[in-house]
Symmetry: none
Subunit: 422 residues, 2 copies
């Protein structure tokens, strides 16, 4: 069932307002087993809305729009539907009474401007709006089902849950399309892809996709079928196989974060942790506390941005700083050890590097990072060269720091039972 | 000039991954005076990408795509371009050498899989990629200019800034920026809207919009005209008026961040700063170092997550902690003073609060935050109650902490000359 979502609103084209309806509707449809094939966004101009409608009914079997159903002059979705699909607008008395009643509830008279919201394209079904004045519209054009919903996210969400999704499920009783996510860190997208080569040939029912993020590469596994049980089985097997192939770079399934995995491992082993950050400025600590309940294992840390603070707050030796410089394996290790000892933690992780865009040298270029880890049985460090912008480099180094902790604790999906996922 | 942006990637249709490229590209184009008329998103299936390309070249004069230029099997944009526009793929030796060199820089051999990235549709111009291995593509179909960019946001951003926008500006010399942004922090969206009431009546050429973010409320001001000079004048006047109306809650114009404004003020006054964070876990420090060159004024900080670390690392008195608890005005002030003294900084800012979702009480509910500021002439603190998720509360508290520094230093647009914007 090819599905297209059209979000209508000029503010969505400036890049300043986040298009929350797209994420919301896609998420709700995906949960129901429907994956849209197209997202389209257009401004409040009749010409562009009309063109988007024409294109959508041509290429999709289900079209869901949001926006343009309000009472003001830039709300023209109704009018465009009337023109494109040649359906006259008819005043619906029952809808008008409902809009009036909604204003009365608040002790107000309905402004005349709202009357247009009771204009319904001939033959369209009215989708009730429990929260606002704009009713939704449902009509069929040739073989395409069209649903026009209001732009207010909570109103659109209600109508999707109570009307659109039940309608589509009734039409397609077996609907089940699912997505699994295996999250990895440590390999580039292309190296990981090589490791997964042949997978799609061996599992032809499954579709694989990879997305590179600062937190590593996420592998998306999807399939669709009318048989939900069969689908579950195929996805379970595929997910297990993917984790096996990926190996220790696989850290989590679904939407769990690296910080969640590290936090759980620390709790399981009864350990506490501290952080010592230089160029990441607090990003590692911020990632750690993004997990709810982190106060049970995170004691705190030091952001030692200046060399002096590395000495005074973490006890890094001035001799080491002079000899090898602050961006070095030795300093990373001394920082981690210093944080662990001063905060009395079981273990500690540290970062030192060059975030750029200035400050790089031939020997220590922008993107160079040393990450340290200290525990009672010793200290280690790893060297990385990250690419991207200042923000990218800081974000990547922060995730790789968490990952060094994860690997040191042997945490993540390959070390746990993949079937124990929630 | 009708412009369409197509973002390619199945992950963008699931509602799991935010489509950052749409926001990024739209924002950059809007700044350059170009407003796209259509946004389209499609998955990694050849059939849907082809259909999106065909529709776009039919209805738009400029088409910009992102995604699908990577080395893996789901990266098929090159192939689809070849099929739809009947352009044979030709191996470009120079591009291949560049990709090899990029791997070599990092001491790696190019995996064979990356070779496909050097395949260029006949007649297309290669847009160089300074950050990654995927080059961009520029080709003309009938009268439509098409630009295929990589999906990695920083790479797409570079190519837009250095190639696509200059090309389009050269084609349309009269293009004038149509959007101004005045950034504020400290008032809710509805209170700010009341303060701005009547503005659109007084300035009928201008359109106003507000967007609530963790960093406060951004006001955007837009207008359009073929007369660039006139437009500039109208926007300048509107912007000045907005800043006057908003008052001291206005902190920046355009895309400058709170951290940029605070950093500039510290540099101007020759001051240094330190941070002392509890529940924000390092987010304030991370925000400070997001500004390039922050090492000139940021000395570092302490993340004192546990009560013990507040005492040992910041010298907060155990008596205060016992008497009023860690989430209190007194502790916020002692934390800031401790950080300022121990790091030898001119000033320091601190946070302590309840991020939730657990741990709230009637007296100290989830969302409660005390923010402290210490300078040589004394210490202050402010109390806030933030709403939203754990992540929202942490993000808001971090921005309000920076804002306390900003107001203490009297920095931001109302205190500077608005016309001095870059």
């Amino acid at each position: 069932m090819t599905t297209e979502i059209i979000t209508i609103g000029s503010e969505l084209l400036h890049g300043l307002v986040r298009n929350t309806n797209i994420d919301l509707i896609s998420g709700m449809l995906a949960e129901a087993g429907l994956r849209p094939s197209y997202h389209t966004t257009v401004g409040d101009e009749a010409e562009f809305i009309a063109e988007a409608f024409r294109t959508a009914v041509h290429r999709a079997e289900v079209v869901i729009t949001t926006g343009g159903l309000g009472p003001t002059s830039d709300d023209i979705t109704r009018k465009v539907i009337a023109t494109v699909f040649r359906r006259r607008l008819i005043l619906d008395r029952a809808v008008l009474d409902e809009i009036r009643a909604r204003f009365k509830e608040r002790g107000l008279d309905m402004p005349p401007i709202n009357e247009v919201q009771a204009l319904i394209p001939r033959g369209a079904i009215v989708i009730p709006n429990a929260r606002g004045t704009a009713p939704g519209l449902h009509f069929t054009h040739l073989k395409t089902e069209c649903f026009a919903l209001p732009g207010v996210p909570s109103e659109a969400q209600d109508m999707l849950r109570d009307y659109v999704i039940p309608f589509l499920k009734q039409r397609n009783p077996g609907l089940a399309s699912m997505i699994r996510v295996v999250r990895t860190i440590g390999l580039s997208e292309s190296v990981l892809a090589e490791r997964l080569q042949g997978f799609e040939r061996e599992e032809p029912e499954l579709k694989l996709g990879t997305i590179a993020r600062a937190s590593g590469v996420d592998i998306h596994l999807s399939a669709s079928s009318a048989d939900a049980m069969w689908l579950q089985g195929v996805l379970d097997r595929g997910e297990r196989k993917l984790v096996e192939r990926a190996g220790t770079v696989a850290y989590a399934l679904g939407s769990r974060t690296l910080s969640d995995v590290v936090g759980e491992a620390l709790l399981t082993h009864g350990l506490t942790i501290a952080t010592a950050e230089s160029f990441t400025g607090g990003s590692v600590g911020a990632a750690v506390v993004s997990t709810s309940g982190s106060s049970r294992y995170y004691l705190g840390g030091v952001v030692a941005y200046s060399n002096e603070s590395k000495e005074t707050l973490l006890g890094v030796s001035s001799e080491t700083l002079r000899r090898v410089g602050s961006v070095s394996a030795e300093v990373a290790k001394e920082m981690a050890r210093g944080a662990r000892e001063r905060l009395g933690a079981s273990c500690a992780v540290s970062t030192t590097g060059v975030a750029g865009p200035e400050g790089g040298t031939a020997e220590k270029p922008v993107g160079l990072a040393h990450i340290g880890y200290s525990a009672q049985d010793g200290d280690v460090s790893e060297r990385y060269l990250f690419g991207g912008s200042r923000a990218d480099i800081i974000a990547r180094a922060s995730f790789y720091a968490l990952d060094l902790v994860r690997r040191s604790l042997k945490a993540g999906v390959p070390w746990s039972e993949p079937s124990s996922r929630s």
